[in-house]
């Protein structure tokens, strides 16, 4: 135990001394990259009714060799909490801390420029009595954007086409906490599960004359029921509810500023914020229903799921009891199939996951009912993982190969502009770990992502300055080739009681493979130090 403390102290010291540099947010939005999708799919915090457009990344940041082997089932593949009672076996508890930094000229206009962040997370699962199982996690993060982003909203590159930005580039600090947990109970052949999630963040300019604050809450919940038809077949349904409020306040304390509220591709004049503060509130409700099947055939575990989603976002500027609002409505459906096949007495494992999602969105403006702004988005993703564990010499290797095809159309009849973009992302990643004796092992990893984009977009040369400044860079990047690479090096120590202490240094970069007119030359680089412990 004393040894465990010493290792923990060393890991903590490593974290404190780490150069404040690494993995990135422009390269990604970090919390979503900490764990593989199958480990978070059960969480009701997963985005619903919107597709977030991220820059190409080189995959998850947590070393794959310390993660449990992929699992398939109603819980892991379909996100149905009713599957908890059957899908969870041995308990697991892990904690991790990350210190990272990211910078570089390459970014979209509403991405942060310089980013440094500290994150701590804990998660685990275990049995609750004889019939129940529980899973849950907590994540805390503080992120400093310096120089800051001009975006006032937390997700400027998502499906809704209402975005607020301003002229400030002051440093901004964001504090975020995410909590999620689920409980599932088996009652004979029936399973019942409930999951709750809560995501809240507060973003604030730091020592700025033109002050921006954003606070957001996202309470979510899902309820599922499942039934075992036979030993090899289960069926389940679950519904997930999302609500949320995001409140933006701008005020001029030491300096005036300009705010831009844009809808679709419309060019908007900036409004000066001086003596009157600026206020926007975005409220959302989303409901998703899914039906799923899970079973096993010839040593292959499989899950199939399909569902529909409906979401409404309301944008208002009025401080009143019943404010008028602009509306963004999205509806769509999704489907997915997951397969898991063990080989060689479970020392070799192949997991394949395929997903399809389609989403249509449209705007309704508060002052008229013209549905002149619509989006159509489709995404197909195929992820595979091959995990191998040596029987004798302590090698562990995990290889991943992913393909994502995304298609997005925006038709803004009001602005008389439309765009269509298609992106193809291919990713390969390999993590290797080798035992060195006395519980120690070393690990290394590499990942490469290649993105190819095509599409039809309004020619920026014939558009106004606002379009060139705000929309063109993103569309340029989305329709151009780019690549991301990542390398990592780490060490692990396994204590006799089964605890695993690990540390990793990681660097990642993103670069364009051709020069673009509206995107600054250069790359984006990030680095991070991660430490963690996995408890049995």
């Amino acid at each position: 135990m004393a040894m465990n403390h010493r290792v923990a102290a060393v890991l903590l010291a490593l974290l404190m001394l780490a150069p404040a540099d690494v993995e990135g947010q422009a390269v990604t939005d970090a919390p979503e990259r900490e764990l593989p999708a199958w480990m978070t799919r059960w969480s009701p915090l997963a985005e619903t009714g919107a597709i977030t457009r991220a820059l190409p990344t080189a995959g998850i940041v947590t070393p794959m060799t310390i993660l449990p082997a992929p699992r398939v089932g109603l819980l892991w593949s379909a996100g149905n909490p009713a599957g908890l009672a059957w899908d969870i076996g041995d308990p697991r508890l892990d904690f991790a801390a990350t210190r990272g930094n990211e910078s570089g000229a390459l970014r979209r206009p509403l991405d942060g420029s310089g980013i440094s962040e500290t994150r701590v997370r804990g998660s685990g699962w275990r049995s609750l009595g004889s019939r129940g199982r529980g899973i849950g996690g907590a994540r805390f993060g503080q992120t400093l954007f310096d120089p800051g982003t001009t975006s006032n909203v937390n997700a400027p590159y998502a499906t809704p086409q209402f975005v607020v930005m301003d002229s400030s580039s002051s440093a901004t600090e964001r504090t975020q906490v995410q909590l999620d947990g689920a409980g599932g109970w088996s009652l004979g052949d029936w399973g019942l599960g409930v999951a709750l999630g809560y995501d809240t963040r507060s973003t604030q300019t730091v020592n700025a004359g033109f002050v921006r604050s954003n606070r957001a809450v996202l309470p979510t919940g899902s309820l599922g029921i499942a039934r075992r038809i036979s030993e090899s077949l289960s069926i389940g349904v679950h519904s997930t509810w999302h609500a949320g409020n995001e409140t933006i306040n701008l005020s001029a304390v030491g300096a005036a500023g300009q705010v831009f509220v844009w809808r679709g591709y419309q060019s908007v004049p900036g409004a000066t914020v001086f003596d009157q503060p600026f206020y926007r509130r975005i409220s959302r409700d989303a409901v998703q229903h899914n039906a799923s099947l899970a079973g096993a055939v010839a040593n292959v575990q499989w899950t199939a799921t399909a569902g529909s989603v409906r979401r409404e976002d309301r944008f208002t500027a009025q401080r009143a009891n019943n404010p008028t609002s602009d509306l963004w409505n999205s509806d769509g459906y999704n489907a997915g199939v997951s397969l898991l096949r063990p080989f060689q007495d479970d020392r070799l494992l192949l997991a394949i996951d395929g997903r399809f999602a389609r989403l249509n969105g449209q705007a309704t403006f508060f002052n008229d009912s013209v549905h002149g702004l619509t989006t159509e988005e489709q995404q197909v993703a195929l992820n595979s993982e091959l995990r191998w564990r040596s029987a004798v010499d302590g090698w562990i290797a995990v290889a991943q190969a992913d393909v994502v095809l995304a298609d997005r159309r925006v038709d803004d009849a009001v602005a008389a502009r439309r765009s269509q973009t298609q992106g193809l992302t291919n990713r390969l990643a390999l993590d290797v770990e080798r035992a060195m004796g006395r519980g120690w092992s070393i690990a290394g990893g590499a990942a490469y992502t290649r993105y190819s984009g095509t599409g039809t977009i309004p020619d920026p040369a014939f558009m106004g300055a606002f379009y060139q400044r705000v929309f063109a860079p993103e569309l340029d990047i989305a329709t151009s080739p780019s690549s991301a690479t990542a390398f990592s090096l780490g060490a692990r120590w396994r204590a006799r009681d089964g605890s695993l202490f690990w540390a990793q240094a990681r660097s990642e970069s993103l670069s364009l493979r051709q020069r673009l007119d509206y995107v600054p030359d250069g790359a984006r680089r990030g680095s991070s130090i991660l430490v963690g412990v996995v408890l049995p």
């Binding site: 947990g181 809240t200 604030q204 002050v211 809450v217 401080r319 009891n321």
Partner: protein, 863 residues
């Protein structure tokens, strides 16, 4: 153990384990066995209580109380005592942090606004002022707080002078237990009108623990450790630092607190616990609380700072005299240091000013334009407290008694530089106003304030035929406020306060209670020594173009608003209650009513000052010399003024219902519901004259010969709050999730009084004479000039029902650590915007944060 029959609480403590609290019903005869399971963390123990005990009793008290134990305090994730007190009925939830002054208004509802030109008393402030705060057996006092500029000042800062103690000074992390006496306290407690909050800080052997909390605005770090030193001594250290960014990100404002305490106990026989022959408790504690509002680039010249600090030392000696008697001697001294400074840009037209601080006439000077008014108030309040108490638990006439007799002496003082500002650049532009203006005032000359009290109290329990049990606590207390400074001096105000609480345990599961009594609170030092009213009457105002030719002459009058007959505020209260314990549920229902008289207010007293008018000679424009004032004055006129005299002229009444229910756990869901509902109705009347906002014109314009006055109206408020806590507990994984929903079911405020143009009660002449007009004559044409709208009364305003949810999650960590998350207003509900007759009630935005506590006892052997 000889434990009385009936409902009892078994408390079990052991170092390294979470304390347990088990409700028991002790049989009248025989032996009761109870197995007690213990765990390192309370989160891993079934039955953990994270809310106030609905049927709890404060130690030595029979009246209605809320008892909040350590685990409930810890689960509350509060920055200060105020956050802990959200566990009692009727308290509005607030975001955790050091934002703004924090007070407790027991059993008071917000009431409607009032007068156009006079400062209004408020039922909430009266309640906060009348709520006694006792820490480690010794009251804290805010009576000598003089950090106020009064209502005349146009440069202001926040402060708690005349109201309750700022609860931010007490960190929640260092509190072991809180008892809130909501009902009729025993005679042991005095200098209160609305109840008492009894706080025990952490002391004794405590495993070292480090706690850190962070949210987007607040950072807090606490450390607590206590251990035995040899056998007879125990030493405990608690410390806390907290800082909150209070400017909402818009300004750089912040509040911070630094506090620490050293506790020592010596016992002649440590193994005997509280039954040792001699126990000496020593506490040394201090705090520093700051509120900073630095200037901003857009508003240069405006800033304010407040520094409150105090150091307190107390000694409590307990002597066991035989088997049933105990003598307790307590002495404490607290010395504070308060420094508030505020500055602001003011604009004035050119006006004649004088720097005179004594009555009389003086040649003045002209000043005008924009200036930066700076005012500073430095005070050093001190509080000396001593108590001797003899307690005895004899068996007289076959009945078990618990009797106390005690004597208390208090002495309060304030010294220091007091209010300071430049007389030529005062914090008040309107120097010719209805209510005069201020001068700098040193606190060094103010007399001390001495109070003495004596009390006797007995509690007797007995069985009744049929198996029921009864308990009666009766006592009498007398509080005396002495002439300045000396306990030996004759009291200027004395209040006898009988108090009675009775309880009838009809069955083991049903108890009925009742209580009534009189409570009293001494006036504050600020009311006993009000700021004098200065009037600078302009006799000559010759403003020539050339500065050297100008002449101003002013006569200074000083009117003393001191009220030498000011006396105690008194409240009579009564309550009825019932408690039910059945099936694991505890329900408590209390109906109460109270009436406060002699409340501290301000009586506007009409008066006048004389103005001499002079002729000038040698008026030669261009001469470069001012004219000469020709004595004697050619005429004289009167200027009506109002003396703001401190007075016992407030009456309030309150009534309400409090329901507290702690329902049994729904086992399959491992969830329980704790419910609190409070309906409070308050009304306030102030016996005073009131005027319209035209009074300033009346003062300045001799053509206006009279002005109507009105009788005070009644200001009322009602508030119905329901607070439900849904508590989900998973002991196996050390997880507890609490969702707190506060539903404002009812809110109403209304001024009750005449509103029409015949509402005036009479008129005031320029000579300061109050002339009543009979109601039947007010419509006569001769009073047409008095038939004006009062202007301040509106119809009833009601609040819309609304709710907010707060969330708390606590989870054990490896090494007995603990992680907590909290989100105030977790759904970020906005509340309601006010419109017309709808009261505005806007909720503070979501505030969330995390807390991490880690015991450090494993680092070294700790005992």
């Amino acid at each position: 153990m000889g434990v009385p029959a009936g409902p009892q609480v078994l408390r079990v403590q052991r170092l390294g384990f979470a304390p347990r609290r088990i409700d028991l019903v002790v049989p009248a005869t025989g032996t009761l066995s109870q197995d007690v399971g213990m765990a390192a963390s309370a989160l891993q123990v079934a039955g953990i209580r994270v809310v106030a005990d609905p049927a709890g009793r404060a130690r030595g008290e029979a009246g209605t109380a809320s008892v909040i134990e350590r685990e409930a305090i810890r689960s509350q994730v509060a920055a200060s005592l105020a956050g802990v007190l959200e566990l009692i009925p009727g308290v509005v939830l607030q975001p955790p942090g050091l934002d703004g002054i924090q007070q407790l208004s027991l059993r008071a509802s917000p009431i409607s606004g009032g007068s156009a030109i006079l400062t209004d008393a408020d039922a909430g402030n009266l309640s906060a002022f009348g709520t006694l705060l006792v820490v480690d057996g010794v009251p804290l006092s805010n009576n000598a707080n003089l950090q106020s500029l009064g209502s005349r000042s146009e440069v202001n800062f926040g402060g708690t002078a005349g109201v309750g103690i700022d609860l931010r000074r007490i960190p929640a992390t260092t509190i072991e237990r809180v008892e809130v006496l909501r009902g009729v306290p025993s005679a042991r407690w005095g200098d209160l009108t609305h109840g008492a909050v009894i706080v025990d800080t952490r002391a004794g052997v405590v495993e070292p623990e480090l706690l850190a909390r962070v949210d987007a605005r607040t950072t807090e770090v606490s450390f607590v450790a206590g251990r035995d030193v040899r056998t007879a001594h125990a030493v405990t250290i608690t410390s806390n630092f907290a800082r909150t960014e209070t400017g909402g990100g818009v300004r750089g404002d912040q509040s911070s607190r630094l506090s620490g305490q050293l506790a020592h106990r010596w016992s002649s026989d440590a193994a005997a616990g509280p039954d040792a022959r001699i126990i000496l408790d020593t506490r040394v504690d201090g705090f520093r609380l700051t509120d900073d509002r630095p200037e901003t680039p857009t508003l240069p010249g405006s800033e304010r700072f407040a520094r409150d600090a105090a150091f307190r030392v107390l000694e409590r000696a307990q002597f066991r005299l035989g088997n049933v008697n105990r003598l307790s001697l307590t002495a404490a001294y607290e010395r504070g240091s308060q420094g508030y400074e505020s500055r602001r840009n003011l604009v004035r037209g050119v006006q004649a000013l004088t720097t005179r601080t004594e009555p009389g006439r003086e040649i003045g000077r002209f000043e005008g334009g924009i200036y930066n008014a700076t005012v500073r108030v430095d005070g050093q309040p001190s509080f000396m407290y001593s108590r001797a108490e003899l307690s005895s638990a004899p068996n007289w006439f076959g009945l078990a008694h618990d009797a106390r007799v005690g004597l208390e002496l208090r002495r309060e003082n304030n010294s220091g530089a007091g209010t300071q500002f430049d007389l030529l650049f005062p914090p008040q532009v309107a120097v010719v106003g209805a209510r005069g203006f201020d001068r700098p005032r040193s606190f060094d000359t103010l007399p001390s304030y001495a109070l003495s009290s004596a009390y006797i109290d007995d509690r007797v329990s007995f069985s009744l035929p049929g198996g029921s049990r009864a308990s009666v606590q009766a006592g009498l207390r007398v509080d005396a406020l002495h002439e300045p400074g000396r306990w030996a001096a004759a009291p200027r105000s004395t209040v006898w306060q009988p108090r009675l609480n009775a309880e009838l345990a009809v069955t083991p599961w049903l108890s009925l209670r009742s209580g009534f009594g009189r409570l009293a609170k001494a006036p504050s030092m600020g009311s006993l020594n009000p700021i004098p009213d200065y009037y600078d009457v302009v006799n000559v105002n010759y403003f020539a173009n050339a500065p050297t030719e100008r002449l101003a002459a002013l006569t200074t009058y000083i009117l003393d608003p001191t009220n030498t007959s000011l006396r105690h505020t008194v409240q009579d209260r009564a309550e009825l209650g019932a408690e039910l314990r059945a099936g694991g549920a505890q329900v408590s229902l209390v109906l109460y009513t109270d009436r406060l008289t002699n409340g501290l207010g301000v009586q506007p007293e009409p008066a006048f000052v004389l103005r001499d008018n002079y002729q000038l000679s040698n008026v030669n424009p261009g001469s470069g010399t001012p004219p000469v004032l020709v004595e004697p004055p050619v005429s004289q006129d009167s200027i009506p003024v109002i003396i703001s005299r401190a007075a016992n002229n407030i009456q309030t009444s309150g009534s309400g219902i409090e329901l507290t229910a702690d329902l049994p756990e729904i086992a399959p869901l491992r969830t329980r519901l704790a419910l609190q509902a409070a309906f409070a109705r308050s009304s306030l009347e102030q016996d005073r004259l009131e005027f319209t906002s035209r009074f300033a014109d009346f003062q300045l314009l001799p053509a206006i010969s009279r002005i109507p006055y009105f009788e005070s109206f009644r200001r009322t408020g009602e508030l119905g709050l329901i607070t439900g806590r849904l508590i989900h507990h998973q002991p196996e994984i050390g997880l507890i999730v609490t969702g707190t929903v506060q539903y404002t079911a009812h809110e109403k405020q209304q001024n009750v009084g005449d509103t029409d143009s015949l509402a005036f009660a009479g008129y005031l002449t320029r000579g300061g004479t109050v002339v009543p007009v009979p109601r039947g004559e007010r419509g006569d044409p001769q009073y047409a000039d008095l038939q004006v709208s009062r202007g301040t009364l509106t119809s009833a305003r009601r609040g819309q029902p609304d709710w907010l949810l707060s969330l708390q999650v606590a989870k054990t960590l490896p090494l007995n650590g603990r992680f907590s998350f909290y989100a105030f207003n977790a759904f970020d509900r906005l509340g309601r915007f006010g419109t017309g007759e709808v009261l505005q009630r806007q909720f503070a935005g979501t505030r969330f944060g995390v807390e991490l506590s880690m015991p450090l006892g494993g680092l070294a052997a700790w005992r």
